[in-house]
């Protein structure tokens, strides 16, 4: 590893595409497209999630996201947010593929509006169909190592367990299961949802995750651009801490200054 700039040299890849930044950011909930673009820039993200929605037929001149965030420079990862069945999610992604022209997508099939917890039965079914159709789905899922294995077997190109409910900002609720998923996975694992502040992102990376995906933590900060910078730093710090191999924990103190030579 490059000692001068260890983060730059430490790339990760998903479905054959290689990236430097391990932070994926959403593009929802911003006050303006300008602020959104500035936050993406500050985050250093190379991938952004986007939603697929009907055009507004009564106002064709609405500003387009693509005018502010260039899909030639930043990889657009279309999502299926708002889909509660496998069929809706598949339909959405077929359109997304046509709109964007690529197969790398984010699948999420939600179970209920209150928690936005994923419906894993529908998620698994959608994964199987999408893979058959040539998609490369990165899949939002529960923090369950068995569900993660099943998704990987079904062809998911990345496993994206929630740290806590979408938009909650509660941080990683179960570090043990996230770590179990990381240890068992043969594809990248990214914590998706639940990150509230920088330490949550660092924790995800310290657990060995390949990346973190977040939206609300940045968009709903008082200063989203500054929080985007904080998240970039946190993901890099967490990654370096993970790679460096942290010290063992002890139950009692261990002095840092030598005992020999005490006056």
């Amino acid at each position: 590893m490059n000692v001068e700039n260890p983060v730059k040299a430490d790339r990760w890849s998903v479905a054959g595409r290689s990236f430097t930044s391990r932070l994926i950011v959403g593009t929802g909930k911003y006050k303006s497209l300008e602020e959104n673009a500035a936050a993406v820039e500050a985050s250093g993200a190379e991938i952004v999630t986007v939603a697929v929605r009907r055009v507004n037929v009564s106002n064709p001149n609405e500003p387009m996201l693509t005018d502010f965030i260039d899909p030639k420079k930043i990889t657009y990862l279309p999502n299926t947010a708002g889909c509660f069945t496998a069929d809706d999610a598949i339909r959405t992604l077929r359109l997304a593929r046509e709109a964007g022209g690529w197969n790398l997508v984010k699948l999420e099939v939600l179970g209920e509006a209150k928690t936005l917890y994923p419906d894993m039965r529908e998620t698994l079914r959608a994964t199987e169909v999408l893979v058959k159709e040539g998609f490369e789905p990165m899949v939002y899922c529960v923090d369950d190592p068995i569900a993660a294995k099943q998704l990987e077997e079904a062809g998911a190109v990345a496993i994206m367990p929630l740290g806590a409910p979408i938009g909650s900002g509660l941080g990683i609720q179960n570090r043990v299961t996230i770590r179990l998923i990381v240890e068992g996975a043969g594809v990248p694992v990214l914590v998706d949802a639940g990150v509230g502040t920088a330490s949550d992102a660092a924790q995800a990376m310290e657990l060995g995750c390949d990346g973190v995906l977040m939206n609300t933590a940045i968009a709903e900060a008082k200063d989203p651009v500054m929080m985007a910078r904080a998240m970039k730093a946190a993901v890099e710090a967490g990654r370096l801490a993970y790679l460096s191999g942290r010290m063992q924990k002890r139950r009692y103190a261990d002095p840092s200054s030598p005992l020999a030579g005490l006056i």
Partner: protein
């Protein structure tokens, strides 16, 4: 189809009358959108962008025209 040579279709859930024989690409342009920046579904089937010029809108078609927007 009517005497004024229009057909009735539904676009993003709204009923509209459009000229008979119009292609999907022409319809999208007429609505004010760039066909290169949207995706179109016709009766639940995606219409490949390369064929938008060749597919004529038919009476009773259900069309969905979508684009990318901000989302998490």
């Amino acid at each position: 189809m009517t005497i004024d040579h229009t057909v009735q279709v539904r676009i993003n859930g709204e009923h509209r009358r459009v000229n008979e024989g119009i292609s999907i690409a022409e319809l999208v342009s007429e609505l004010g959108f760039d066909p290169v920046r949207v995706a179109v579904e016709r009766n639940l089937e995606v219409v490949p962008r390369s064929t938008l010029r060749d597919v004529a809108v038919e009476d009773g078609d259900e069309l969905e025209i979508v684009r990318f927007v901000g989302g998490g």
